[in-house]
């Protein structure tokens, strides 16, 4: 009756018209919306997902973790002469592919790199990655296709180059802006995000409805393989349960797995319910879930207690039961996917007997209630925090609390909203015991922010840095410095191995597991090949319907 009423009212969908392709459009559902599409401001994951469709970086990592050119002809290296040391720094030459164009037909090349560096070098630019640009002293434009970047110091990531800014559109805005804050407001990415000249990818931003959806259409000036879809619609649905319903109803065709849509447990449940309706893919990613330990706490300052805590939790069982065994256990901060992963770092398989022995050795013996006490009669009790609302982490927390109780460690759960945990508690190192969260890393990303003693947040450094445990190790500091300046990957490898060894031996942080991207797409969609290393949209021109 309701159906009939809707039909009478003309509100039922009309029958699909016969078309050349049964799937001219692809609708992607995500749970967030970008604050801006400016490639260098606000490092939103959703923004990079969209830019993968619309705006290609100069270089990117392939599925094997190798750096490849998307806009250049050859990745510069010391071996091929593209990079060389000079004075106290280095010079790196990028050769752009001929014929590259922005979406409005303007040529793309060395001038755009020079302009991007000019904006990025402004210390007030508000660029998310200001440090990288700040060590570039100048960019020489040799010709339209050749640019030489001069670094003030050797930098091992000299060959990684992200999205460029279109000088023909943005330079007039930047030159006339009264300051960087004004530039961010007046940038065409803010004032006219559908301007085709801002993008160079297979698709262009054709519609930008704030908070709702982004519509992309084919770029007529795209230099690569022609994309298959007339339109890609990226629709924002903030609630993941509603997002799942939209997937089931067909209102969205696919949900990406880069942490933008459904959680791993939701996709696992969906696959159980609808095993044949969608294609599913689980790819280990660069996220790394761990527990930061407050090393100023006298209990946790004892390395035997830290090791006992890690030995006392059965991470493999947790992963198997709560995450379908889809994510790998972590032994250090470097994922096995990374080229610099070292298998030699000590591992801590579940061993509650050894954990109890270590606690006893540290002077903690079980009391009448099973909780350990030291000679002074103090209980082995620790606060354990994570951000509220992340269901899997809250479940993990309860499992670990139970397992630690079995070895005589009491944990008191004290969770906080993400904003408070990250904006206040961790930032000011105000947590008293354990804090569980995840870092999102990248291939060969320096651990300076999280493990260097210079990155311990203090009032003196304006509470900057992410070394929340307060870890201080002179060898680790020296290795980070040396690694960042070492240009030869073969010579960097032992430095990475030593850093992983120090981390696993000292355990300033309890490594838990790496993440996994859980992708869902329709069976008719082919060519999707997520790597877990970078956003899957970087190869969207290969996506097609069958």
């Amino acid at each position: 009756m309701i159906r009939a009423a809707l039909l009478c009212a003309g509100l039922l969908p009309s029958l699909p018209a016969t078309a050349a392709s049964p799937h001219p459009d692809l609708t992607i559902g995500v749970a967030s919306f970008p604050s801006t599409l400016h490639p260098e401001i606000d490092p939103d994951l959703i923004k990079f997902y969209l830019l993968g469709l619309a705006d290609r970086p100069v270089t990117a990592f392939d599925a094997a973790g190798r750096l490849v050119c998307l806009l250049c002809t050859e990745v510069p290296s010391i071996a091929n002469g593209g990079a060389r040391l000079e004075d106290r720094g280095m010079a790196v030459t990028f050769h752009f592919q001929p014929g590259l164009q922005w979406g409005d037909g303007a040529p793309l090349g060395a001038e755009d790199l020079a302009f991007t560096a000019r904006v990025g070098r402004d210390p007030n630019s508000g660029f998310a990655n200001a440090h990288t640009w700040s060590i570039i002293s100048r960019v020489d434009v040799v010709d339209h296709l050749t640019a030489v970047m001069h670094f003030t110091e050797p930098n091992y990531q000299f060959d990684e180059l992200g999205q460029l800014l279109p000088a023909h559109l943005e330079a007039p805005v930047f030159d006339h802006a009264s300051g960087p804050a004004a530039y961010m407001q007046q940038s065409r990415y803010s004032t006219s995000p559908t301007n085709p000249g801002l993008y160079n990818g297979p698709y262009l931003i054709a519609g930008y409805d704030t908070g709702t959806r982004v519509v992309l259409e084919r770029n007529p000036n795209w230099h690569g393989r022609p994309p298959a879809f007339d339109r890609i619609i990226v629709k924002t649905i903030g609630n993941t349960a509603a997002l799942q319903s939209n997937l089931l109803s067909g209102d969205v065709d696919m949900v990406p797995g880069e942490g933008l849509g459904l959680t791993l447990d939701q996709v696992l449940a969906l696959q159980k319910q609808q095993p044949d309706r969608f294609a599913y893919a689980y790819k280990p990613n660069m996220a790394y879930t761990h527990i930061d330990l407050q090393l100023d706490n006298p209990i946790l300052a004892d390395i035997r207690v830290r090791r006992a805590l890690l030995l006392g939790v059965d991470r493999q069982s947790m992963v198997d039961k709560l995450m379908g065994g889809r994510v790998p256990i972590a032994n250090s901060f470097v994922s096995p996917q990374q080229p610099m992963y070292s298998a030699e770092a000590p591992a801590y398989p579940y061993d509650p007997a050894r954990a109890r022995a270590l606690l006893a050795e540290a002077g903690w013996t079980p009391g009448p209630d099973g909780i350990c006490r030291n000679a002074a009669g103090e209980r082995l009790s620790l606060e354990f925090s994570t951000s509220t609302g992340v269901r899997v982490r809250e479940l993990l927390q309860q499992v670990m609390q139970s397992e630690w109780r079995r070895i005589g460690v009491e944990t008191i759960i004290r969770n906080e909203p993400a904003r408070t945990l990250f904006g206040e508690t961790l930032k000011h190192r105000a947590f008293k015991g354990l804090a569980m969260f995840a870092w999102i890393s990248a291939i060969e990303s320096t651990p300076r922010q999280t493990l260097s003693s210079g990155q311990i947040p203090t009032a003196a450094n304006n509470w900057g840095g992410g070394n929340y445990p307060g870890f201080h190790d002179a060898t680790m500091d020296a290795d980070i410095d040396a690694m960042e300046k070492e240009l030869d990957p073969a010579k960097r490898r032992p430095l990475w191995a030593e850093m992983q060894r120090i981390y696993a031996e000292q355990l300033p942080v309890l490594p838990l597991f790496y993440g996994a991207d859980a992708h869902v797409w329709p069976l008719w969609l082919k060519g999707v090949d997520p790597t877990g290393l970078q956003v899957s949209t970087l190869h969207a021109e290969d996506w097609h319907a069958e």
Binding site: R3, L6, G10, L11, L12, P13, S35, T36, H38, I41, D42, P43, N124, G126, A128, N129, A130, H131, T132, S134, G179, P180, A181, M184, Q185, S187, Y189, S190, G207, T210, G211, T212, R213, R231, I233, K235, T236, I237, G238, N239, A241, A242, S245, N246, L248, S249, G250, D251, R419, T420, F422, G423, K427, T446, Q449, Q455, A460, N462, G464, G466
Partner: protein, 353 residues
């Protein structure tokens, strides 16, 4: 004889007035009522509203300022090379190094000139972000408000005609279900039934890309409007039912019946008007709340309205947008109260303004 009715409010103190000798629609002569000039009343309420808005703006600004983190934290969190000097300079650029009172003063001075600042999380002027959200909220909330009020009046009156009867029991059950069921769950059930199972309505969004016609927009409004309406109808129905039952027992209703007035006239003219006064209070206050949006419904159905916008702005430390959105919601609430006061005077002339 003075007919039974709602008690006089403090505004209804005896005094001179031009309404002396006014007769009510049922022929009963009304007493003299004071006559505070309407314009003076409205001006006074506007002045009150301005003061409330000023105080609220400061309170909201201060509360947002006290929240952990600021926009610069976002920048330096991904920038391990940001030195304290760079961070200090960025704070100065954004004015975050100034005391909150001074920052508030700057914002207020600009706001009085119509400049509500720039939304950090949308990289656009605040009004550019707020106006489309407001339009969407108007479409969604006003439609659901009208639907829920109309249906609530129908159901509330019907239930009051025979308290304890079958109709009353069924309507009360429906009303309590509406009050009790979580909006989140209701939205999911509607999506599952109408979008996932029957495929007759879209599960989310405001329109189809490439269509966007009125019919298409209406189709996208049906489920969120139904969700909101079902959530509101319950409480409105209960209020109307209770007010009508009380009114229908009053002497003037008995008198009207004794004088031969038809049952339809007794209920819809004599009883309903008297019963409206407490109901108007509830509805007017709900009306104000409409413009702060319905966060859950907007999130579930991907409707970019005021509720979602304000929530995201607060989480994103977007001072200007959150502040302007909340102030607008406050303003509409005050307007709702003003309308309620005016409605009292219209419904019962003894209530002087």
């Amino acid at each position: 004889m003075v007919g039974e009715g709602p008690p006089s409010t403090p505004f209804a103190a005896p005094g001179k007035g031009v309404d002396a000798g006014l007769r009510r629609h049922d022929g009963v002569e009304l007493p003299e009522v004071p006559n505070a000039p309407m314009t003076r009343f409205i001006l006074a309420r506007c002045a009150q509203a301005a003061i409330v808005l000023l105080v609220m703006s400061f309170v909201i600004y201060s509360l947002i300022g006290l929240m952990p983190g600021d926009p610069i934290d976002v920048m330096i969190s991904s920038n391990p090379g940001a030195t304290p000097e760079v961070v200090a300079r960025l704070r100065a650029i954004y004015g975050l190094d100034q005391p909150i009172l001074l920052r508030y003063g700057h914002w207020l001075a600009a706001a009085l000139h119509g400049d509500f600042g720039y939304s950090r999380t949308h990289a656009q002027p605040v009004l550019t972000v707020l106006l489309p959200a407001l339009l969407q909220t108007c479409k969604l909330m006003l439609t659901s408000f009208i639907v829920s009020v109309v249906l609530a009046f129908a159901l509330g009156i019907w239930a009051s005609l025979k308290p304890g009867g079958i109709a009353d029991s069924v309507i009360s059950l429906f009303a309590f279900a509406g009050i009790s069921v979580p909006v989140f769950w209701l939205a999911l059930v509607l999506i599952l039934v109408f979008a996932v199972t029957w495929h007759v309505l879209p599960a989310s969004g405001v329109g189809t890309v490439g269509d966007g016609g009125v019919t298409d927009q209406l189709r996208h409004l049906i489920l969120p409007v139904t969700t909101l309406a079902l959530a509101n109808i319950g409480s409105f129905t209960r209020f109307i039912r209770a007010a009508m039952i009380e009114t229908l027992r009053m002497d003037h209703i008995r008198t009207a019946r004794a004088k031969g007035a038809g049952e339809r006239r007794v209920v819809l003219v004599h009883a309903l008007r008297n019963a409206m006064i407490p109901v108007v209070t509830v509805i007017a206050l709900s009306f104000g709340g409409l413009f702060s949006g319905a966060l859950i419904t907007e999130t579930m159905f991907a409707q970019p309205g005021m509720g979602k916008m304000i929530y995201d702005a607060i989480l994103g430390n977007d001072f200007n947008l959150a502040l302007t959105g909340l102030l607008f919601a406050t303003l509409v609430t005050l307007l709702g109260n003003l309308l309620a006061d005016l409605a009292y005077g219209w419904l019962d002339p003894r209530i002087a303004l």
